[in-house]
Protein backbone atom coordinates (compact mmCIF):
# COMPACT_ATOMS: atom_id res chain seq x y z
CA UNK A 1 0.00 0.00 0.00
CA UNK A 2 1.20 3.47 -0.86
CA UNK A 3 0.05 6.38 1.25
CA UNK A 4 0.87 9.93 0.26
CA UNK A 5 0.09 12.65 2.79
CA UNK A 6 0.18 16.29 1.76
CA UNK A 7 3.06 15.51 -0.54
CA UNK A 8 4.64 18.66 -1.92
CA UNK A 9 7.61 19.22 -4.18
CA UNK A 10 8.96 22.59 -5.16
CA UNK A 11 11.79 23.37 -7.52
CA UNK A 12 12.72 26.94 -6.81
CA UNK A 13 9.43 28.82 -6.90
CA UNK A 14 7.74 26.27 -9.14
CA UNK A 15 5.46 23.89 -7.31
CA UNK A 16 5.41 20.61 -9.17
CA UNK A 17 3.47 18.55 -6.65
CA UNK A 18 1.10 20.45 -4.44
CA UNK A 19 -0.30 19.05 -1.22
CA UNK A 20 -1.14 15.73 -2.78
CA UNK A 21 -2.76 12.99 -0.70
CA UNK A 22 -3.86 9.64 -2.02
CA UNK A 23 -3.78 5.95 -1.24
CA UNK A 24 -2.96 3.02 -3.45
CA UNK A 25 -4.59 -0.10 -2.04
CA UNK A 26 -3.66 -3.73 -2.29
CA UNK A 27 -5.68 -5.83 -4.70
CA UNK A 28 -6.50 -2.87 -6.89
CA UNK A 29 -5.13 -1.25 -9.97
CA UNK A 30 -4.88 2.47 -9.36
CA UNK A 31 -4.61 4.66 -12.41
CA UNK A 32 -2.59 7.80 -11.84
CA UNK A 33 -3.71 10.28 -14.43
CA UNK A 34 -2.85 13.75 -15.48
CA UNK A 35 -1.80 15.74 -18.49
CA UNK A 36 1.89 16.05 -19.36
CA UNK A 37 3.74 17.94 -16.68
CA UNK A 38 1.10 17.31 -14.03
CA UNK A 39 3.67 15.96 -11.59
CA UNK A 40 3.05 12.22 -12.02
CA UNK A 41 6.66 11.22 -12.50
CA UNK A 42 7.88 13.48 -9.73
CA UNK A 43 5.34 11.93 -7.38
CA UNK A 44 6.48 8.45 -8.30
CA UNK A 45 10.11 9.39 -7.80
CA UNK A 46 9.23 10.63 -4.34
CA UNK A 47 7.52 7.32 -3.56
CA UNK A 48 10.79 5.45 -4.05
CA UNK A 49 12.93 8.14 -2.47
CA UNK A 50 14.75 9.32 -5.58
CA UNK A 51 13.40 12.80 -4.92
CA UNK A 52 12.75 13.98 -1.42
CA UNK A 53 9.54 15.88 -0.75
CA UNK A 54 9.70 19.55 0.15
CA UNK A 55 6.83 18.92 2.53
CA UNK A 56 4.59 16.04 3.47
CA UNK A 57 5.43 12.38 3.34
CA UNK A 58 4.81 9.19 1.49
CA UNK A 59 5.02 5.69 2.86
CA UNK A 60 5.26 2.33 1.17
CA UNK A 61 3.81 -0.55 3.15
CA UNK A 62 3.67 1.67 6.23
CA UNK A 63 7.25 2.96 6.18
CA UNK A 64 9.29 5.33 4.16
CA UNK A 65 10.90 3.50 1.26
CA UNK A 66 14.51 3.73 2.41
CA UNK A 67 13.70 2.09 5.74
CA UNK A 68 12.86 -1.27 4.18
CA UNK A 69 15.38 -4.08 4.42
CA UNK A 70 14.46 -5.25 0.94
CA UNK A 71 12.97 -2.24 -0.84
CA UNK A 72 12.56 -3.95 -4.20
CA UNK A 73 10.51 -6.62 -2.50
CA UNK A 74 8.13 -3.95 -1.21
CA UNK A 75 7.67 -2.07 -4.42
CA UNK A 76 8.87 -2.71 -7.93
CA UNK A 77 9.12 0.34 -10.10
CA UNK A 78 9.30 1.23 -13.74
CA UNK A 79 10.34 4.84 -13.98
CA UNK A 80 10.21 7.02 -17.02
CA UNK A 81 12.19 6.04 -20.08
CA UNK A 82 15.29 3.94 -19.66
CA UNK A 83 16.89 3.71 -16.29
CA UNK A 84 19.42 1.29 -17.64
CA UNK A 85 23.02 1.50 -18.82
CA UNK A 86 22.82 0.94 -22.59
CA UNK A 87 26.15 -0.86 -22.67
CA UNK A 88 25.02 -3.70 -20.45
CA UNK A 89 22.96 -6.67 -21.56
CA UNK A 90 19.44 -7.11 -20.24
CA UNK A 91 20.51 -10.18 -18.30
CA UNK A 92 23.49 -8.46 -16.71
CA UNK A 93 21.37 -5.45 -15.84
CA UNK A 94 18.84 -7.60 -14.03
CA UNK A 95 21.62 -9.60 -12.39
CA UNK A 96 23.22 -6.41 -11.05
CA UNK A 97 19.91 -5.45 -9.44
CA UNK A 98 19.34 -9.00 -8.24
CA UNK A 99 22.69 -9.15 -6.44
CA UNK A 100 21.77 -6.23 -4.18
CA UNK A 101 18.88 -8.22 -2.72
CA UNK A 102 20.30 -11.72 -2.93
CA UNK A 103 17.86 -12.69 -5.66
CA UNK A 104 18.69 -15.90 -7.46
CA UNK A 105 19.76 -16.22 -11.05
CA UNK A 106 16.77 -18.45 -11.55
CA UNK A 107 14.43 -15.64 -10.65
CA UNK A 108 16.22 -13.40 -13.16
CA UNK A 109 15.66 -15.97 -15.89
CA UNK A 110 12.06 -16.20 -14.78
CA UNK A 111 11.29 -12.50 -15.19
CA UNK A 112 13.16 -12.41 -18.48
CA UNK A 113 10.89 -15.11 -19.75
CA UNK A 114 7.83 -13.48 -18.23
CA UNK A 115 8.64 -10.26 -20.07
CA UNK A 116 9.24 -12.11 -23.32
CA UNK A 117 12.88 -11.08 -23.51
CA UNK A 118 14.48 -14.53 -23.60
CA UNK A 119 15.77 -14.18 -27.14
CA UNK A 120 17.38 -10.78 -26.55
CA UNK A 121 18.53 -11.16 -22.95
CA UNK A 122 22.17 -11.25 -24.02
CA UNK A 123 21.93 -8.20 -26.22
CA UNK A 124 23.11 -4.76 -25.18
CA UNK A 125 20.19 -2.68 -23.97
CA UNK A 126 21.31 0.19 -26.17
CA UNK A 127 20.15 -1.82 -29.17
CA UNK A 128 16.67 -2.30 -27.72
CA UNK A 129 13.57 -0.74 -29.20
CA UNK A 130 11.40 1.42 -26.98
CA UNK A 131 9.01 -1.48 -26.50
CA UNK A 132 11.75 -3.89 -25.50
CA UNK A 133 13.09 -1.27 -23.11
CA UNK A 134 9.66 -1.08 -21.50
CA UNK A 135 9.54 -4.84 -21.17
CA UNK A 136 12.93 -4.81 -19.50
CA UNK A 137 11.70 -2.09 -17.15
CA UNK A 138 8.68 -4.18 -16.26
CA UNK A 139 10.90 -7.23 -15.77
CA UNK A 140 13.06 -5.29 -13.30
CA UNK A 141 9.95 -4.03 -11.53
CA UNK A 142 8.79 -7.61 -10.96
CA UNK A 143 12.25 -8.94 -10.15
CA UNK A 144 11.98 -9.04 -6.37
CA UNK A 145 8.40 -10.30 -6.32
CA UNK A 146 7.08 -7.01 -4.94
CA UNK A 147 3.92 -6.38 -2.94
CA UNK A 148 3.38 -3.18 -4.88
CA UNK A 149 4.05 -2.55 -8.53
CA UNK A 150 4.38 1.05 -9.68
CA UNK A 151 4.76 1.76 -13.37
CA UNK A 152 5.20 5.10 -15.08
CA UNK A 153 3.52 5.02 -18.48
CA UNK A 154 4.07 1.28 -18.94
CA UNK A 155 2.38 0.97 -22.31
CA UNK A 156 4.41 3.75 -23.84
CA UNK A 157 6.03 2.42 -26.99
CA UNK A 158 4.48 -1.03 -26.77
CA UNK A 159 2.79 -2.62 -29.75
CA UNK A 160 -0.86 -3.72 -29.43
CA UNK A 161 0.19 -7.18 -28.35
CA UNK A 162 2.43 -5.64 -25.69
CA UNK A 163 -0.34 -3.35 -24.48
CA UNK A 164 -2.62 -6.32 -24.05
CA UNK A 165 0.14 -8.20 -22.25
CA UNK A 166 0.64 -5.34 -19.79
CA UNK A 167 -3.08 -5.06 -19.23
CA UNK A 168 -3.44 -8.74 -18.40
CA UNK A 169 -0.27 -8.78 -16.35
CA UNK A 170 -1.36 -5.88 -14.17
CA UNK A 171 -4.82 -7.30 -13.76
CA UNK A 172 -3.29 -10.59 -12.69
CA UNK A 173 -0.95 -8.89 -10.22
CA UNK A 174 -3.84 -7.03 -8.61
CA UNK A 175 -5.91 -10.20 -8.45
CA UNK A 176 -3.08 -11.84 -6.55
CA UNK A 177 -3.54 -9.18 -3.92
CA UNK A 178 -0.78 -6.79 -4.89
CA UNK A 179 -1.22 -3.07 -5.16
CA UNK A 180 -0.71 -1.80 -8.68
CA UNK A 181 -0.23 1.82 -9.59
CA UNK A 182 0.25 2.99 -13.12
CA UNK A 183 0.49 6.45 -14.52
CA UNK A 184 -0.83 7.55 -17.84
CA UNK A 185 -2.06 10.60 -19.64
CA UNK A 186 -4.62 8.51 -21.52
CA UNK A 187 -7.94 8.14 -19.81
CA UNK A 188 -9.41 5.62 -22.19
CA UNK A 189 -6.42 3.30 -21.89
CA UNK A 190 -6.35 3.57 -18.12
CA UNK A 191 -10.07 2.95 -17.72
CA UNK A 192 -9.54 -0.46 -19.29
CA UNK A 193 -7.04 -1.56 -16.66
CA UNK A 194 -7.72 0.41 -13.51
CA UNK A 195 -10.22 0.07 -10.69
CA UNK A 196 -9.36 3.26 -8.97
CA UNK A 197 -8.40 6.65 -10.38
CA UNK A 198 -6.26 9.38 -8.93
CA UNK A 199 -6.33 12.33 -11.28
CA UNK A 200 -3.97 15.24 -10.84
CA UNK A 201 -3.27 18.45 -12.67
CA UNK A 202 -0.48 20.92 -11.94
CA UNK A 203 0.45 18.76 -9.01
CA UNK A 204 -2.91 19.06 -7.34
CA UNK A 205 -5.48 16.36 -6.75
CA UNK A 206 -8.42 16.81 -9.11
CA UNK A 207 -10.30 13.59 -8.50
CA UNK A 208 -9.93 10.49 -6.37
CA UNK A 209 -12.60 8.14 -7.59
CA UNK A 210 -13.32 4.73 -9.04
CA UNK A 211 -13.41 3.98 -12.72
CA UNK A 212 -17.03 2.94 -12.40
CA UNK A 213 -18.04 6.21 -10.82
CA UNK A 214 -16.05 8.21 -13.26
CA UNK A 215 -17.54 6.31 -16.18
CA UNK A 216 -21.05 6.70 -14.83
CA UNK A 217 -20.64 10.43 -14.48
CA UNK A 218 -18.94 10.72 -17.80
CA UNK A 219 -21.42 8.67 -19.76
CA UNK A 220 -23.96 11.47 -19.58
CA UNK A 221 -23.10 11.46 -23.24
CA UNK A 222 -26.18 9.39 -24.01
CA UNK A 223 -26.87 6.91 -26.78
CA UNK A 224 -26.66 7.63 -30.47
CA UNK A 225 -29.42 6.03 -32.53
CA UNK A 226 -29.70 5.98 -36.31
CA UNK A 227 -32.97 5.07 -37.98
CA UNK A 228 -35.02 6.12 -40.99
CA UNK A 229 -38.03 6.54 -38.70
CA UNK A 230 -36.44 9.11 -36.43
CA UNK A 231 -39.63 11.03 -35.89
CA UNK A 232 -41.58 7.94 -34.81
CA UNK A 233 -38.82 6.70 -32.53
CA UNK A 234 -38.48 10.08 -30.93
CA UNK A 235 -42.08 10.04 -29.78
CA UNK A 236 -41.79 6.43 -28.62
CA UNK A 237 -38.78 7.18 -26.47
CA UNK A 238 -40.01 10.45 -25.05
CA UNK A 239 -40.68 10.64 -21.33
CA UNK A 240 -39.82 12.59 -18.19
CA UNK A 241 -36.07 13.11 -17.58
CA UNK A 242 -35.33 12.06 -21.10
CA UNK A 243 -33.81 14.41 -23.59
CA UNK A 244 -33.54 13.70 -27.25
CA UNK A 245 -31.64 15.80 -29.70
CA UNK A 246 -30.79 15.18 -33.28
CA UNK A 247 -28.01 16.31 -35.49
CA UNK A 248 -29.45 15.03 -38.74
CA UNK A 249 -32.76 13.70 -40.01
CA UNK A 250 -31.88 10.08 -39.35
CA UNK A 251 -29.96 10.43 -36.11
CA UNK A 252 -30.98 10.89 -32.50
CA UNK A 253 -28.94 11.45 -29.38
CA UNK A 254 -30.85 10.06 -26.41
CA UNK A 255 -29.99 10.68 -22.79
CA UNK A 256 -31.91 9.09 -19.96
CA UNK A 257 -32.43 5.68 -21.51
CA UNK A 258 -29.74 3.13 -22.05
CA UNK A 259 -29.06 1.31 -25.29
CA UNK A 260 -30.85 -1.83 -24.14
CA UNK A 261 -34.07 -0.01 -23.41
CA UNK A 262 -33.98 1.85 -26.68
CA UNK A 263 -33.39 -1.33 -28.63
CA UNK A 264 -36.25 -3.09 -26.90
CA UNK A 265 -38.67 -0.22 -27.52
CA UNK A 266 -37.66 -0.01 -31.16
CA UNK A 267 -38.13 -3.75 -31.67
CA UNK A 268 -41.50 -3.68 -29.99
CA UNK A 269 -42.72 -1.11 -32.45
CA UNK A 270 -40.98 -2.50 -35.47
CA UNK A 271 -38.59 0.39 -35.94
CA UNK A 272 -35.43 -0.68 -37.74
CA UNK A 273 -32.22 0.64 -36.17
CA UNK A 274 -29.00 1.06 -38.11
CA UNK A 275 -26.93 2.20 -35.22
CA UNK A 276 -27.22 2.05 -31.46
CA UNK A 277 -24.11 3.38 -29.76
CA UNK A 278 -23.62 4.36 -26.12
CA UNK A 279 -21.49 7.49 -26.10
CA UNK A 280 -18.82 6.02 -23.83
CA UNK A 281 -16.14 7.83 -25.80
CA UNK A 282 -16.74 10.81 -23.62
CA UNK A 283 -14.41 9.32 -20.98
CA UNK A 284 -11.51 11.08 -22.62
CA UNK A 285 -13.63 14.18 -23.04
CA UNK A 286 -14.64 14.09 -19.39
CA UNK A 287 -11.00 13.74 -18.44
CA UNK A 288 -10.05 16.66 -20.61
CA UNK A 289 -12.87 18.69 -19.14
CA UNK A 290 -11.54 17.96 -15.72
CA UNK A 291 -8.00 18.86 -16.57
CA UNK A 292 -8.59 21.65 -19.07
CA UNK A 293 -7.76 24.42 -16.66
CA UNK A 294 -4.58 22.81 -15.50
CA UNK A 295 -2.98 21.59 -18.69
CA UNK A 296 0.61 22.66 -18.41
CA UNK A 297 1.45 22.89 -22.05
CA UNK A 298 -1.71 24.20 -23.67
CA UNK A 299 -1.81 23.66 -27.39
CA UNK A 300 -3.74 25.62 -29.96
CA UNK A 301 -7.41 24.55 -29.96
CA UNK A 302 -7.24 22.69 -33.26
CA UNK A 303 -4.48 20.55 -31.84
CA UNK A 304 -6.06 19.67 -28.59
CA UNK A 305 -7.53 16.39 -29.60
CA UNK A 306 -4.46 15.06 -31.30
CA UNK A 307 -2.37 15.90 -28.30
CA UNK A 308 -4.69 14.04 -25.98
CA UNK A 309 -4.63 11.05 -28.27
Amino acid sequence: MIEARELTKRYGDKTVVDNLSFTVKAGEVTGFLGPNGAGKSTTMRMVVGLDSPTKGSVTVGGRSYAKHAAPLHEIGTLLEAKSVHPGRSAFNHLMALAYTHGISRRRVDEVIELAGLTSVAGKRVGAFSLGMGQRLGIASALLADPAIVMLDEPVNGLDPEGVLWVRNLLRGLADEGRAVMLSSHLMSETALIADHLVIIGRGRLLADTTVDDFTREASGGGVRVATTEARKLRSLLAGPDITISSSSAEELLVTGRDAREIGAIAAQHGVALYELTPQAVSLEAAFMDLTRDVVEYQSAPADTERKAA
Binding site: A26, G27, A66, P71, K82, S89, Y99, A144, D145, G177
Partner: protein, 297 residues
Protein backbone atom coordinates in the same frame (compact mmCIF):
# COMPACT_ATOMS: atom_id res chain seq x y z
CA UNK B 1 -6.33 -2.51 8.73
CA UNK B 2 -8.19 -4.50 6.17
CA UNK B 3 -6.09 -3.65 3.16
CA UNK B 4 -2.93 -4.88 4.79
CA UNK B 5 -4.62 -7.98 6.04
CA UNK B 6 -5.82 -8.66 2.55
CA UNK B 7 -2.33 -8.43 1.17
CA UNK B 8 -0.85 -10.65 3.82
CA UNK B 9 -3.50 -13.27 3.33
CA UNK B 10 -3.42 -13.26 -0.37
CA UNK B 11 0.23 -12.87 -1.04
CA UNK B 12 1.19 -16.49 -0.61
CA UNK B 13 -1.04 -17.19 -3.58
CA UNK B 14 1.17 -15.19 -5.87
CA UNK B 15 3.95 -17.65 -5.44
CA UNK B 16 2.28 -19.97 -7.81
CA UNK B 17 2.67 -17.51 -10.61
CA UNK B 18 5.51 -15.19 -10.05
CA UNK B 19 7.29 -16.87 -7.27
CA UNK B 20 10.94 -16.38 -6.75
CA UNK B 21 10.91 -19.18 -4.26
CA UNK B 22 13.56 -21.64 -5.31
CA UNK B 23 11.76 -24.18 -3.18
CA UNK B 24 8.13 -24.26 -4.23
CA UNK B 25 7.30 -26.56 -1.37
CA UNK B 26 7.69 -23.86 1.21
CA UNK B 27 5.97 -20.89 -0.34
CA UNK B 28 5.02 -19.48 3.04
CA UNK B 29 8.50 -18.26 4.00
CA UNK B 30 8.75 -15.48 1.51
CA UNK B 31 9.77 -12.08 2.77
CA UNK B 32 12.86 -12.79 4.82
CA UNK B 33 15.23 -14.10 2.18
CA UNK B 34 15.55 -10.86 0.24
CA UNK B 35 17.60 -8.28 2.01
CA UNK B 36 20.01 -5.59 0.98
CA UNK B 37 23.39 -5.99 2.68
CA UNK B 38 26.71 -4.26 2.22
CA UNK B 39 28.28 -7.40 0.78
CA UNK B 40 25.46 -7.77 -1.71
CA UNK B 41 25.78 -4.19 -2.89
CA UNK B 42 29.49 -4.84 -3.29
CA UNK B 43 28.72 -7.95 -5.29
CA UNK B 44 26.38 -5.94 -7.48
CA UNK B 45 28.94 -3.24 -8.15
CA UNK B 46 31.55 -5.90 -8.86
CA UNK B 47 29.27 -7.42 -11.47
CA UNK B 48 28.47 -4.00 -12.94
CA UNK B 49 32.16 -3.29 -13.30
CA UNK B 50 32.90 -6.39 -15.34
CA UNK B 51 29.81 -6.31 -17.54
CA UNK B 52 30.54 -3.10 -19.42
CA UNK B 53 32.76 -3.17 -22.42
CA UNK B 54 33.79 0.46 -21.93
CA UNK B 55 35.17 -0.26 -18.46
CA UNK B 56 37.19 -3.20 -19.68
CA UNK B 57 38.62 -1.21 -22.57
CA UNK B 58 39.56 1.75 -20.40
CA UNK B 59 41.15 -0.54 -17.85
CA UNK B 60 43.07 -2.31 -20.59
CA UNK B 61 44.24 0.97 -22.05
CA UNK B 62 45.47 2.16 -18.66
CA UNK B 63 47.56 -0.95 -18.04
CA UNK B 64 48.77 -0.99 -21.63
CA UNK B 65 49.95 2.63 -21.46
CA UNK B 66 51.67 1.93 -18.19
CA UNK B 67 53.61 -1.03 -19.54
CA UNK B 68 54.27 0.41 -22.98
CA UNK B 69 55.66 3.77 -21.91
CA UNK B 70 57.66 2.24 -19.10
CA UNK B 71 59.29 -0.28 -21.40
CA UNK B 72 59.88 2.22 -24.18
CA UNK B 73 61.45 4.73 -21.81
CA UNK B 74 63.89 2.09 -20.61
CA UNK B 75 64.85 1.01 -24.09
CA UNK B 76 65.31 4.51 -25.45
CA UNK B 77 67.24 5.67 -22.41
CA UNK B 78 70.64 7.05 -23.07
CA UNK B 79 72.71 8.60 -20.32
CA UNK B 80 73.74 11.53 -22.57
CA UNK B 81 70.22 12.73 -23.16
CA UNK B 82 70.05 13.68 -19.49
CA UNK B 83 66.77 14.00 -17.70
CA UNK B 84 64.75 15.65 -20.42
CA UNK B 85 63.56 12.32 -21.73
CA UNK B 86 60.06 11.25 -20.99
CA UNK B 87 56.91 13.31 -21.02
CA UNK B 88 56.37 16.22 -18.72
CA UNK B 89 54.49 15.34 -15.66
CA UNK B 90 54.89 14.23 -12.13
CA UNK B 91 57.71 11.82 -11.64
CA UNK B 92 59.91 13.03 -14.43
CA UNK B 93 60.83 16.27 -12.79
CA UNK B 94 62.42 14.80 -9.71
CA UNK B 95 65.98 14.85 -10.84
CA UNK B 96 67.97 12.21 -12.63
CA UNK B 97 66.44 9.13 -14.14
CA UNK B 98 66.77 5.76 -12.58
CA UNK B 99 65.46 2.37 -13.63
CA UNK B 100 62.33 2.81 -11.55
CA UNK B 101 61.51 6.33 -12.69
CA UNK B 102 61.81 5.12 -16.27
CA UNK B 103 59.58 2.13 -15.59
CA UNK B 104 56.86 4.34 -14.14
CA UNK B 105 56.99 6.88 -16.96
CA UNK B 106 53.62 5.57 -18.05
CA UNK B 107 51.97 6.58 -14.79
CA UNK B 108 51.25 10.07 -16.06
CA UNK B 109 49.27 8.59 -18.96
CA UNK B 110 47.80 5.69 -17.07
CA UNK B 111 46.53 7.99 -14.33
CA UNK B 112 44.28 9.72 -16.84
CA UNK B 113 42.89 6.48 -18.20
CA UNK B 114 42.38 5.04 -14.74
CA UNK B 115 40.83 8.26 -13.46
CA UNK B 116 38.49 8.34 -16.44
CA UNK B 117 37.58 4.76 -15.63
CA UNK B 118 36.51 5.83 -12.16
CA UNK B 119 34.56 8.76 -13.57
CA UNK B 120 32.76 6.55 -16.08
CA UNK B 121 31.86 4.03 -13.43
CA UNK B 122 30.12 6.73 -11.42
CA UNK B 123 29.04 9.56 -13.72
CA UNK B 124 28.12 7.05 -16.42
CA UNK B 125 25.24 5.95 -14.22
CA UNK B 126 23.92 9.47 -14.10
CA UNK B 127 24.19 10.13 -17.81
CA UNK B 128 22.44 6.88 -18.72
CA UNK B 129 19.77 6.96 -16.02
CA UNK B 130 21.06 3.73 -14.52
CA UNK B 131 21.47 5.57 -11.24
CA UNK B 132 17.69 5.54 -10.77
CA UNK B 133 17.67 1.75 -10.90
CA UNK B 134 20.70 1.58 -8.65
CA UNK B 135 19.37 3.90 -5.98
CA UNK B 136 15.88 2.42 -6.10
CA UNK B 137 17.52 -0.90 -5.21
CA UNK B 138 19.74 0.66 -2.56
CA UNK B 139 17.82 3.67 -1.26
CA UNK B 140 20.30 4.25 1.54
CA UNK B 141 22.63 5.26 -1.26
CA UNK B 142 25.96 5.44 0.58
CA UNK B 143 26.72 1.71 0.24
CA UNK B 144 26.71 2.28 -3.51
CA UNK B 145 29.47 4.86 -3.28
CA UNK B 146 31.59 2.81 -0.87
CA UNK B 147 31.11 -0.28 -3.02
CA UNK B 148 32.11 1.46 -6.21
CA UNK B 149 35.26 2.71 -4.50
CA UNK B 150 35.90 -0.69 -2.94
CA UNK B 151 35.57 -2.41 -6.28
CA UNK B 152 37.57 -0.13 -8.50
CA UNK B 153 40.32 0.75 -6.01
CA UNK B 154 41.64 -2.78 -5.48
CA UNK B 155 41.15 -3.76 -9.12
CA UNK B 156 43.14 -0.75 -10.29
CA UNK B 157 45.72 -1.26 -7.57
CA UNK B 158 46.37 -4.90 -8.38
CA UNK B 159 46.42 -4.54 -12.14
CA UNK B 160 48.53 -1.41 -12.26
CA UNK B 161 50.99 -2.83 -9.74
CA UNK B 162 51.35 -5.81 -12.03
CA UNK B 163 51.64 -3.38 -14.94
CA UNK B 164 54.41 -1.43 -13.22
CA UNK B 165 56.24 -4.69 -12.43
CA UNK B 166 55.89 -5.76 -16.04
CA UNK B 167 57.16 -2.40 -17.28
CA UNK B 168 60.16 -2.67 -15.00
CA UNK B 169 60.94 -6.25 -15.98
CA UNK B 170 60.44 -5.57 -19.68
CA UNK B 171 62.65 -2.54 -19.42
CA UNK B 172 65.47 -4.26 -17.54
CA UNK B 173 67.14 -5.77 -20.63
CA UNK B 174 67.01 -2.34 -22.25
CA UNK B 175 69.08 -0.89 -19.45
CA UNK B 176 71.53 -3.75 -19.42
CA UNK B 177 74.98 -2.43 -18.73
CA UNK B 178 73.78 1.12 -17.95
CA UNK B 179 74.84 2.68 -14.69
CA UNK B 180 71.26 3.20 -13.57
CA UNK B 181 70.20 -0.42 -14.02
CA UNK B 182 68.49 -1.95 -11.03
CA UNK B 183 66.94 -5.27 -10.26
CA UNK B 184 63.71 -6.04 -8.45
CA UNK B 185 65.63 -7.06 -5.38
CA UNK B 186 67.34 -3.71 -4.99
CA UNK B 187 66.47 -1.36 -2.22
CA UNK B 188 63.16 0.41 -2.66
CA UNK B 189 62.39 -0.93 -6.12
CA UNK B 190 59.44 -3.06 -5.13
CA UNK B 191 58.18 -0.37 -2.83
CA UNK B 192 58.25 2.20 -5.61
CA UNK B 193 56.53 -0.04 -8.12
CA UNK B 194 53.85 -0.98 -5.60
CA UNK B 195 53.62 2.70 -4.80
CA UNK B 196 52.73 3.40 -8.42
CA UNK B 197 49.93 0.84 -8.16
CA UNK B 198 48.77 2.31 -4.88
CA UNK B 199 48.73 5.79 -6.38
CA UNK B 200 46.76 4.65 -9.42
CA UNK B 201 44.32 2.72 -7.24
CA UNK B 202 43.64 5.93 -5.37
CA UNK B 203 43.32 7.87 -8.61
CA UNK B 204 40.59 5.43 -9.65
CA UNK B 205 38.74 6.09 -6.40
CA UNK B 206 39.30 9.80 -6.94
CA UNK B 207 37.60 9.43 -10.33
CA UNK B 208 34.61 7.70 -8.73
CA UNK B 209 34.35 10.46 -6.15
CA UNK B 210 34.50 13.18 -8.80
CA UNK B 211 31.89 11.36 -10.88
CA UNK B 212 29.44 11.10 -8.01
CA UNK B 213 30.19 14.63 -6.91
CA UNK B 214 29.70 16.24 -10.32
CA UNK B 215 27.29 13.68 -11.86
CA UNK B 216 28.58 14.49 -15.29
CA UNK B 217 31.28 12.63 -17.20
CA UNK B 218 32.66 15.60 -19.10
CA UNK B 219 32.76 17.81 -16.05
CA UNK B 220 34.32 15.15 -13.87
CA UNK B 221 36.99 14.31 -16.45
CA UNK B 222 37.79 18.00 -16.80
CA UNK B 223 38.11 18.27 -13.03
CA UNK B 224 40.33 15.20 -12.98
CA UNK B 225 42.67 16.56 -15.63
CA UNK B 226 42.62 19.94 -13.95
CA UNK B 227 43.60 18.61 -10.57
CA UNK B 228 46.19 16.10 -11.73
CA UNK B 229 47.83 17.96 -14.61
CA UNK B 230 46.94 21.61 -14.69
CA UNK B 231 46.82 22.61 -11.04
CA UNK B 232 50.58 22.17 -10.46
CA UNK B 233 51.30 24.38 -13.47
CA UNK B 234 48.84 27.04 -12.44
CA UNK B 235 50.21 27.04 -8.96
CA UNK B 236 53.61 28.09 -10.24
CA UNK B 237 52.05 31.53 -10.66
CA UNK B 238 51.99 31.79 -6.88
CA UNK B 239 54.78 33.71 -5.15
CA UNK B 240 57.83 31.49 -4.88
CA UNK B 241 57.81 31.15 -1.13
CA UNK B 242 54.18 30.07 -1.14
CA UNK B 243 54.76 27.71 -3.98
CA UNK B 244 57.66 25.99 -2.30
CA UNK B 245 55.61 25.46 0.82
CA UNK B 246 52.42 24.35 -0.87
CA UNK B 247 53.47 22.43 -3.93
CA UNK B 248 54.42 19.16 -2.20
CA UNK B 249 50.84 18.97 -0.96
CA UNK B 250 49.20 19.22 -4.35
CA UNK B 251 47.45 15.95 -5.16
CA UNK B 252 49.66 15.04 -8.10
CA UNK B 253 52.92 15.98 -6.38
CA UNK B 254 52.00 14.17 -3.20
CA UNK B 255 51.00 11.25 -5.40
CA UNK B 256 54.26 11.11 -7.33
CA UNK B 257 56.16 11.08 -4.05
CA UNK B 258 54.49 7.73 -3.36
CA UNK B 259 56.26 5.99 -6.22
CA UNK B 260 59.55 7.92 -6.34
CA UNK B 261 62.57 5.78 -5.68
CA UNK B 262 64.50 8.54 -3.97
CA UNK B 263 62.77 11.29 -2.11
CA UNK B 264 63.68 14.55 -3.76
CA UNK B 265 64.39 17.63 -1.71
CA UNK B 266 61.18 19.44 -2.64
CA UNK B 267 58.88 16.47 -2.14
CA UNK B 268 57.26 14.55 0.67
CA UNK B 269 58.38 11.13 1.79
CA UNK B 270 56.48 8.23 0.21
CA UNK B 271 54.47 7.67 3.36
CA UNK B 272 53.60 11.31 3.81
CA UNK B 273 52.80 11.64 0.11
CA UNK B 274 50.45 8.69 0.34
CA UNK B 275 48.74 10.17 3.37
CA UNK B 276 48.32 13.54 1.70
CA UNK B 277 47.01 12.14 -1.56
CA UNK B 278 44.68 9.76 0.28
CA UNK B 279 43.49 12.77 2.21
CA UNK B 280 42.56 14.58 -0.98
CA UNK B 281 40.71 11.51 -2.19
CA UNK B 282 38.92 11.14 1.14
CA UNK B 283 37.91 14.79 1.04
CA UNK B 284 36.45 14.40 -2.44
CA UNK B 285 34.70 11.20 -1.38
CA UNK B 286 33.15 13.03 1.55
CA UNK B 287 31.85 15.70 -0.79
CA UNK B 288 30.51 13.01 -3.10
CA UNK B 289 28.81 11.23 -0.20
CA UNK B 290 27.20 14.45 0.93
CA UNK B 291 25.82 15.22 -2.51
CA UNK B 292 24.72 11.63 -3.08
CA UNK B 293 22.65 11.61 0.09
CA UNK B 294 21.36 15.15 -0.04
CA UNK B 295 20.27 15.74 -3.59
CA UNK B 296 17.57 14.25 -5.78
CA UNK B 297 18.49 12.12 -8.74
Amino acid sequence: MPATALRRNRRPGKHQNLSAAPDPKTPTTPTTKYKVTGIRVLRSEWSKFWTLRSTLITLGVAVFLLVLFGAIASYTYSPDAVATSGPPGPGSSSGDSNAVSLAVTGVSFAQLAIGVLGVLLAAGEYSTGMIRSTLAAVPRRLPVLWSKAAVIGPIALVLTTLGALAAFQLGTPGLDGEKIALSLGDDGVLRSLAGAGLYLGLVAVFGVALGVLLRNSAGAIAALVGVLLILPGLASLLPDSWYDTLSPYFPSNAGSAVYALHQSSDALSPGAGLAVFAGWVALTLAGAAYRLVKTDV
